[in-house]
Subunit: 403 residues, 2 copies
């Protein structure tokens, strides 16, 4: 039997991981169209102006507002001298008493400073329109550069690029950008009882690593002997981060910590975290690479991944801890009791649903080994160290899980 | 100039789309590992039990609880007669006064009904352990079938399969499942001014269609003439749903509605929706396929997509309208005014942020043509038809946008 653990608090765990000497990921240049989900390693500064010219926001007539200043009293006739469509330019500027038909998005001719919407006028004869109300300076006009000015930081360093961002970059004709390299994360499952080529746990973590911008490598299964574990760990070190699943509890075959300790320069930095489930999680360094030991019961695996691995993936990217999680606030549908693990953080899997009363979090009960609890849940409520009870209808912070 | 639109309300639009005679998508059988994000077309019923046997939740000793009933007063010694690991079975049942070492997840031997946690006992000599407190019947035992029973519906028809769900299916050794076919959605951009092979709008919608479980096909650009539009539309009809971007306003080159009307059996079902931005959106049927006309200003495109296309994608999958959106509730950071479009629904792009005060929605101001507004926002607040004002600090429902 092993020594009982000396548990560290979750914030101590974060602190120790941050100070363990893990190298920051480098950046690389990628094509804009392949950059979805990547994290910007530079501020993106616009070299162009959008819109390029003053354009019309409506279908209508580009005019000189001055020509209409008395139109509310004495209707005026304007002569339509041309048509301008988006992407075109007027062949000439506008003169007193003139109008150009302009389609939404078209540039205004020089000298025009307002647009009369199509439905606010009527044609008179072949080439004239009647104006019966004053058109204000700038009406329906989008000024050049109103959306993006030259020199604007349109997307800040550290931002995870959304589809919207990529569309903006395409609009700005920015064809490549500097982004952080994707962290490569290897996953090693440990246990004689595992028979499938890829464990359900490893499948799940692989998808979540992808969701969080990493590249998972499944290393399959190591048997419950220290040589097999150590050999597989050495293979795992080609990655930026190593995750192990299982073999980190107090049993006779729980050899993960021993495998790290038996290495050339062992650095088992902590083993045991004040979080429940997930308390037998641990962290070490091997050849400069971080290794997170995750327990094998599925809810423990998930809690360890969510609260230890996600922060680590942020810190090796130089991003703030708080950006690791997507959280929402919700009303708790049932009270929660935690008398047994007072000095621990306590995770409860919940299903968050939108109701007419706002978001409501329904606790999903079930042993920490239960997969069905996990499939029914979409979030985790974390009760803080000294909390022993959370009342029904209290507003709680929910850590949302990816799909 | 065209006729002014006869606007339908958003709920009328949904109703008309639902009744337009769009065919439901069929289902298909896929390998479980390829089913992430797919929608179940059947209830998944378990043929197995998880756990298969009564197992231990802790590392410790499987015992007979009866043997410890007086241990609080008179400590008892139990003889350790074997070890059981996960995936193994005991060679024999347990007898009075005996214990088996069991590692987390291991099955209990026949006759054992409780587990004494490793840290609650101490070895005495080579093969005995001392028990100093009663161990309750069922303590630390997970009963066979406690997670999943034979015949349980583990995943209901209509569920979008998450990574967790796939992991559960793998655990249950279910290798293939019946899911809905992915809706194929073709996108046609219209406009002489478009020069890039793929418009930023089309890029954005393509990614969002993927996010919502569809397969986008970008058909490129049609010029502003009715023959080109019609020819491209015919090509687009190979998809389940056709989206067009642009050419649906009131200008002279806004030929989309004409293109539908000029077809053999024209069914322009509505053109003009009481939603702002996005009011010139429309809907028609061509050869039994639905066509959604989306406006070209980016925020209008997005609002039309979110509030018209997403419901359509649900209805052709036989799913409820309400499942089209991911919504949260948030506190509005600034008041909103909508005096100009009283009878319309009014969309405001917002950035939702988690604060110590819960979720807060910050309105992102900017003309409906602005891309920067879109990149800063992660959600849309929709003010209902008769709402002219929403006060700061009011709780609002936010439609979250994909990344």
């Amino acid at each position: 039997m092993r020594q009982p653990f000396s548990y560290v608090s979750v914030s101590e765990a974060w602190d120790k991981m941050a100070k363990a000497g893990v190298e920051l990921l480098e950046s690389e240049r990628v094509s804009t169209h392949e950059a979805l989900g990547r994290i910007l390693a530079e501020n993106v500064v616009s070299q162009t102006r959008i819109p390029r010219d003053d354009i019309t926001h409506y279908d209508g007539y580009a005019i000189r507002s001055l020509d209409t200043s008395n139109a509310g009293v004495n209707p005026v006739l304007l002569k339509v001298v041309g048509k301008i469509y988006p992407g075109e330019r007027a062949r000439s500027g506008i003169q007193e008493g003139e109008a150009f038909y302009v389609a939404t998005g078209a540039p205004l001719p020089d000298g025009s400073d307002a647009v009369l919407a199509l439905e606010m006028t009527r044609p008179v004869g072949n080439d004239r329109i009647e104006v019966r109300a004053e058109v204000r300076l700038g009406e329906h006009v989008i000024r050049a550069g109103a959306d993006v000015e030259i020199g604007d930081i349109v997307l800040p360093k550290g931002k995870t690029l959304s589809s919207q961002d990529i569309a903006l970059l395409a609009l700005l004709k920015i064809e490549s950008i500097e982004v952080l390299k994707k962290p490569v994360v290897s996953i090693l499952s440990i246990g004689d009882e595992l028979v499938d080529k890829m464990s359900p746990h490893s499948f799940l973590l692989s998808r979540w690593i992808e969701f969080h911008g990493g590249v998972p490598i499944d290393l399959g299964i190591a048997r419950d002997n220290i040589n097999d574990i150590r050999n597989k760990l050495l293979e795992a070190l080609k990655a930026d981060v190593v995750l192990t699943i299982g073999a980190c509890s107090m049993g006779e075959k729980d050899l993960m910590a021993d495998a790290i300790k038996s290495a050339a320069e062992p650095r088992l930095i902590f083993h045991g975290v004040k979080i429940k489930p997930g308390r037998v999680s641990g962290f070490g360094m091997l050849s400069g690479k971080p290794i997170v030991m995750l327990p094998g019961l599925i809810q423990s695996t998930i809690v360890g991944f969510h609260f230890l691995v996600l922060p680590l993936l942020q810190s090796i990217r130089g991003l703030p801890l708080s950006s690791a999680w997507n959280t929402v606030t919700a009303k708790l549908a049932e009270s929660l009791d935690f008398r047994k693990f007072t000095p621990f953080k306590k995770a409860t899997f919940v299903k968050v649903e939108q109701t007419s009363d706002g978001l409501v979090a329904h606790p999903i009960r079930g042993d920490s080994s239960f997969f069905t609890t996990v499939t029914k849940a979409n979030g985790i409520v974390m009760a803080q160290e000294n909390v022993t009870h959370i009342e029904k209808d209290e507003i709680v912070v929910v850590h949302m899980l990816p799909n």
